[in-house]
């Protein structure tokens, strides 16, 4: 059994709580983006692309046992940082856990603007798509 989703969210909130300055928060986010496990080129297909107005996101999901495992990538590093956190929170969980997840950490760490820019970065569609995969695998 993996770590519960809310426990991971609390961890992220704590990590971001260490920074007072927005610039430090963003440097950490950029760092998370850089450290995101590389996505296999085989999965960076047209079928897996989520189109934002400004940058593309690729998302691949597969079922390993009872758990859904996600891989993703983006052209933009800040989006990649967001993806890295979403994968950390949602990947390796059961479809039911993913579908029930309330992603409150995003607002708590002060990054909700990236999910408000619906047309520009594809993140909102990515979260939806992660849930669609969970539904399909459930």
């Amino acid at each position: 059994m993996g770590q519960p989703i809310n426990e991971i969210q609390e961890e992220l909130i704590e990590e971001f709580g260490l920074f007072e300055d927005w610039a430090d928060k963003y440097e950490y986010l950029i760092d998370l983006g850089k450290k995101l496990a590389p996505m296999s080129d085989a999965f960076k297909t047209e079928d897996n692309v989520i189109k934002g107005c400004q940058s593309r996101v690729w998302l691949h999901a597969e079922k390993q046992g009872d758990l859904v495992v996600f891989q993703a990538d983006s052209e933009a590093i800040i989006v990649k940082g967001m993806i890295s956190m979403l994968i950390r929170v949602l990947s390796n969980h059961t479809p039911a856990e993913i579908l029930a997840a309330d992603l409150y950490f995003i607002e708590q760490i002060g990054m909700s603007q990236h999910l408000a820019q619906t047309r520009s970065n594809g993140l909102v569609s990515m979260v939806k798509q992660m849930q669609h995969y969970a539904l399909a695998f459930s």
Binding site: I30, Q54, E75, A76, I77, I78
Partner: protein, 408 residues
């Protein structure tokens, strides 16, 4: 020595500029997307709703008369602004896009047939491409494209080669929204006329920066938006030559655009009302009049000099940033700088600059064919207005350097 602008005094006229964004003073460098509004425009808008609000043209009461007079006064101001031969040739629309669609659906539908051609350029905004593709598809006509050089200049020799009697319309912007190139519209128009084609000039990006004399330029159609000329959103202008406008069928049907309605048949109103069905955007048209007054009160040479100086200063400073490349280096351009930086996605730059309180535009600028031409996913675009300052450019460049360090 040309008169210089008192920038502090001008900035005092724009309330929105005096605020903190993300705990830093706002720097607004997204003027090509929309310009900010002087207090006079905001006041005109509220004064209208507080004192004069009424529907225009039909009411006989005092408020209706006041509203009608104020609304028609903006039309008069626009005729003077563009040097149009008459106010009847100034048609109010909701914006540039609406003006282009109006011409496509009326002039285009009546004059473009199977096998005909419409010429656009590689520099166009989607709004000056898609309406023509729609009418071309419907009529079995073809779209031809004037190519653009690496520097962002239209290839006039290639344009000449495209021209032939099958071309019914040439639709080109006066100034490129994505990279700021000023196009040689005098030449474009006269060459088109030689083969009998009409020309629509998209002036969305030019009206705030360049003087436009529709008669001297021999314009067939000229369209623009109020909101890019310090006026409100939701108002646009279509100027057309009288014979063209008169011969065009009406666009939308409804009130105002009719002379007489019978079930046996309806006769249409005269220009400009033939193309203004329904209750128009009265308040914003009236407030647009205040914007025209405001901008015309600024000496145009001083305004142009300020923008030119901002462009030169910012260009020189940006060019010193390692890995930065300016996209669009036409000798004739307005105060717009599009740029890319090696290995950095434009969106990341835009997000971080916003945290510094700096508003620029990133992305494809609704000009995807141009981005495809340059093999770019997008650019960062800083676009200036006369109320911007050299100090703002200094801070912008400093914050851009910090941004690149963070992303590095």
């Amino acid at each position: 020595m040309a008169e210089t602008l008192n920038i502090d005094q001008i900035r005092a006229d724009f309330p929105v500029l005096h605020q903190q964004v993300n705990k830093a003073p706002l720097i607004y460098f997204d003027n090509a997307a929309t310009t900010q509004k002087p207090k006079a425009v905001i006041d005109a808008l509220s004064a209208y709703y507080e004192q004069d609000n009424a529907n225009i043209h039909r009411g006989i009461h005092t408020l209706a008369e006041r509203a009608t007079t104020a609304y028609e006064l903006t039309r008069k101001k626009l005729a003077a602004f563009l040097n149009a031969p008459s106010t009847d040739q100034i048609i109010f629309t909701s914006g540039t896009t609406a003006g282009i669609n109006l011409v496509a659906q009326t002039f285009g539908r009546a004059n473009v047939g199977k096998g005909d051609q419409i010429i656009v350029s590689n520099l166009e905004h989607h709004s000056n491409i898609v309406p023509w593709q729609m009418i071309a598809e419907e009529k079995g006509a073809e779209i031809k494209v004037i190519p653009v050089s690496d520097a962002g200049v239209l290839d006039i020799e290639a344009y000449k080669a495209l021209l032939n009697p099958k071309v019914k319309l040439v639709a080109v912007n006066h100034v490129s929204n994505a990279i700021g190139t000023i196009n040689p519209i005098v030449e474009i128009i006269s060459l088109a006329h030689e083969v009998g084609a009409k020309v629509l000039i998209d002036g969305a990006q030019s009206v705030a920066h360049l003087a436009v004399d529709v008669q001297a330029l021999d314009m067939d159609f000229f369209v623009f938006s109020a909101h890019k000329l310090f006026g409100p959103t939701g108002v646009g202008v279509l100027y057309g030559k009288r014979d063209l406008l008169e011969s065009m069928p009406p666009y939308q049907g409804g009130g105002e655009m009719i002379k007489e309605v019978r079930f046996a048949g309806t006769t249409y109103n005269e220009l400009p009302y033939k193309f203004e069905a329904g209750t128009p955007n009265i308040a914003d048209v009236i407030a647009f009049g205040a914007a025209l007054d405001y901008v015309q009160a600024i000496p145009s040479e001083a305004l142009a000099a300020q923008e030119e100086a901002l462009l030169a200063y910012a260009t020189a400073k940006l060019q010193k940033i390692p890995g930065l490349r300016i996209v669009g280096t036409a000798p004739e351009k307005i105060a717009v700088i599009s740029f890319v930086i090696d290995g950095v996605h434009p969106q990341d730059i835009g997000v971080l600059l916003d945290k510094f309180g700096i508003a620029i535009r990133t992305g494809h600028h609704c000009a995807q064919p141009l981005m495809q031409r340059y093999e770019l996913v997008g650019t960062c675009r800083a676009s200036f207005a006369f109320y911007n300052t050299f100090e703002e450019i200094d801070r912008f460049v400093l914050c851009l350097e910090k941004t690149l360090q963070m992303l590095g």
